[in-house]
């Protein structure tokens, strides 16, 4: 049996039958079925999503420190790597934490995507294909097909420009919330490019695919935005008054990362330190851009963010010097 057949047998076909059966309980409304199933799947996968969001956020927050480590140990890759690992360990960030939950979720998104596009059968060939995927033990699925393709103003089998715009807009919001803000100009440019290109690309694709699929993307993105907000706050979407990202309070194993900007260009002996949290409400400046840091050098309220501790230097001294 080919891998494709195994995938169909144990993953795709069950999802198709669940989708059709669910529509029966939702007044034969396929649009509502797509929304409800997307919500259910998101709820089921929330623990994984939360883990991923947290890990991603932690990664974002140490970006500026990682850049500094790389700069500092530019000639000693091994040392840079060790320092980076130490920083990641202490802040709770890890590549595996970001990628593993995402990898686990990927097949679910793929199967949902595939099942929606198959259930929205239009051509006669689609129906013949679908007939072989229905469970004979579930009599209602046979009578249920074809599903009612109309939902609100949409024909779920036909692309819709307005929904495509919604997909693009929601994706832009999500991208804005999740794009790491870094002092590295190249990374920053790449982040900005992704912020624009990804929503544009999905909006463009939505205009070519059945709107049922775009409805799934839009629903999914809105749910991710909500989850993202509860897990990490608005991120780069709504910066605070002092120009920092609108983040929620971040704690890692009872610690808060504090950051201070280097004071002088020749401050190469500075160390990155993770200080124990002393008071709730202290925020890191993961959302602050390098330029913003330059402007607010030495005068940031609360002195939050990673500290480049200079030998013999104190917070008050730095303010004076800045």
């Amino acid at each position: 049996m080919a891998i494709g057949d195994i995938w169909d047998l144990i993953i795709l076909n069950p999802m198709i039958n669940v989708l059709i059966t669910l529509s029966e309980y939702l007044a034969d409304n396929f649009g509502m079925t797509i929304i409800v199933l997307t919500i259910i799947i998101n709820i089921v996968m929330y623990p994984l999503t939360k883990k991923q969001l947290k890990a991603s956020k932690a990664m974002q927050e140490i970006q500026s420190q990682v850049s500094e480590i790389r700069k500092k140990y530019a000639k000693d890759k091994q040392k840079a790597s060790q320092e980076q690992m130490r920083l990641m360990k202490e802040s709770g960030a890890s590549y595996a934490g970001c990628l593993l939950p995402m990898l686990v979720q990927m097949p679910v998104w793929i199967v949902l995507y595939q099942s929606i596009i198959r259930v929205v059968a239009v051509a006669p060939e689609d129906f013949l294909n679908l007939s072989q995927r229905l469970y004979s033990a579930w009599p209602s699925v046979f009578s249920q097909v074809p599903l009612d393709r109309s939902f609100l103003w949409l024909d779920l089998a036909v692309s819709d420009t307005f929904l495509a715009v919604l997909v693009g807009a929601s994706m832009w919001v999500q991208q804005k919330m999740t794009t790491p803000i870094t002092s590295d100009p190249q990374q920053r440019t790449q982040g900005q490019m992704m912020q624009v290109m990804m929503p544009l690309m999905f909006a463009f694709i939505s205009m070519s695919f059945p709107s049922g699929l775009a409805l799934y993307w839009a629903t999914s993105t809105v749910i991710r935005i909500i989850m993202q907000y509860y897990a990490t706050g608005w991120g780069g979407l709504i910066p605070t008054k002092d120009g920092r990202a609108g983040t929620k309070e971040k704690e890692y194993k009872g610690r808060t990362i504090k950051e201070k900007k280097a004071l002088t260009e020749d401050d190469t002996s500075a160390d990155i330190v993770i200080e124990p949290s002393t008071a709730r409400g202290e925020e890191t400046d993961d959302g602050q851009s390098g330029d913003q840091r330059e402007d607010s050098r030495g005068s940031r309220p609360g002195g939050t963010g990673p500290v480049r501790r200079q030998s013999g230097g104190s917070r008050s001294n730095r303010r004076k010097r800045g």
């Binding site: 060939e125 129906f127 004979s136 074809p146 290109m197 694709i205 070519s208």
Partner: protein, 380 residues
């Protein structure tokens, strides 16, 4: 050139992610049924040694059944692609043809997935159609079922929920009847009554003179199969996995028979028995009067193609392209050919030969007695 390379190098991360996403989505679009364009599966109609059929490249084709030569081929028309760039649609696609043509006195009629009916001269073999209905644009839905000619009129159902009757000579509309949903079934005329199924789960009996409804019968599933009228009874299969037998006079249920999957193919009647092939891969032999099962042939593969009767053999083609002969007297099943190509089109038969239109656009001619196979390429 250097600047392009520099930009690519600079943005290689995001570009790679986007390329993977685009590739994945395009691939997924191609692999799904929705992503694939409708290609059509017209069956043949034979008269006076000429077989008329709709090709998968959007032409009405005439084939001489004596020597299998192509007599003529006339394109319906080409249309702009209806789907987007990610749905594997070529730049220009031919009209898909699902329904078999019907033959009038001088004209041959064929419906296209583009929502138009075309009438060509059946003797002069001109490339231009004699008339097209509607004259402007289309009827507002695809035509999947076949057309039927009867007493100077053409009848057909469409994706816009309607059943039409046209004047066969000039293509002007005589009447239309609106059902509750899409109509893919091919109508059947018996006397002055037209029988046709709809996605609204009903079988309709309409008066052919004015399109008024005589009766309807509601099942629990969509009806796509073409009905069969035999001994004052109309037989058809439904997506609710049942075969129904209704009284033609009043639409009362005589019996129904349950199976394991949908019915797409038209039943065949032989000696008081109904042969009906299902998408569960089984050909059921039912008593026409009572609906009791006499026997069954398990072909092991779905059957969407309507079978035909040749002498005392019911010829059936599975989706996998295996063609069987079911002996109606001995109950023996024998394999005629394995085409190794998908077959969904209704079969056509004449003078001991069966014509099978495969999904690759090849028309196969099979001698039922000898099993001799001949390929006729009817698609450009």
């Amino acid at each position: 050139m250097r600047s392009v390379i520099r930009v690519i190098k600079k943005y290689r991360g995001p570009l790679l992610i986007m390329a993977i996403l685009l590739g994945g989505l395009a691939l997924a679009g191609c692999q799904t049924g929705r992503g694939a364009i409708p290609r059509g599966w017209s069956g043949g109609t034979i008269d006076n040694g000429i077989l008329f059929i709709g090709s998968q490249t959007g032409e009405l084709v005439a084939v001489d059944t004596e020597d299998s030569s192509l007599i003529f081929s006339a394109p319906l028309e080409t249309e702009a692609p209806s789907s987007g760039i990610f749905s594997c649609v070529p730049a220009s696609s031919a009209v898909a043809i699902y329904g078999s043509p019907s033959l009038g006195d001088n004209l041959v009629y064929i419906g296209g997935y583009n929502g138009k009916i075309y009438a060509f001269s059946r003797d002069e073999f001109r490339q231009e159609p004699r008339w097209i209905y509607p004259r402007q644009e289309n009827i507002g839905g695809a035509i999947v079922g076949g057309t039927v000619f009867d007493q100077g009129k053409i009848y057909f159902g469409a994706d816009n929920n309607k059943i039409y009757a046209l004047d066969a000579t000039d293509g002007f509309k005589e009447w239309e009847f609106e059902t509750g949903n899409t109509v893919w079934s091919t109508p059947v005329i018996d006397g002055n009554t037209l029988y046709i199924g709809s996605f609204d789960k009903k079988l309709y009996a309409l008066n052919t003179s004015d399109g008024s409804k005589r009766w309807d019968y509601e099942t629990e599933g969509t009806i796509v199969s073409t009905p069969l009228v035999y001994e004052n009874t109309v037989y058809f299969g439904s997506f609710d996995r049942h075969v129904y037998a209704l009284n033609t006079a009043d639409g009362n249920l005589r019996w129904k028979f349950a199976s394991e999957n949908w019915f797409w193919a038209r039943p065949v009647a032989v000696n008081g028995a109904i042969y009906v092939a299902g998408l569960d891969g089984i050909v059921y032999v039912l008593d026409a009067a009572t609906g009791s099962k006499r026997m069954e042939f398990n072909l092991g593969n779905p059957v969407a193609s309507s079978p035909v009767l040749v002498d005392n053999m019911v010829i059936v083609a599975t989706e996998a392209g295996v063609v069987y002969a079911l002996d109606t007297t001995s109950g023996r099943q024998s394999q005629l050919a394995d085409l190794k190509e998908r077959v969904s089109a209704p079969l056509a038969a004449s003078q001991g030969k069966v014509y099978v239109h495969s999904s690759t656009g090849v028309l196969y001619e099979i001698e039922v007695q000898t099993g001799a196979l001949r390929e006729i390429n009817i698609s450009k």
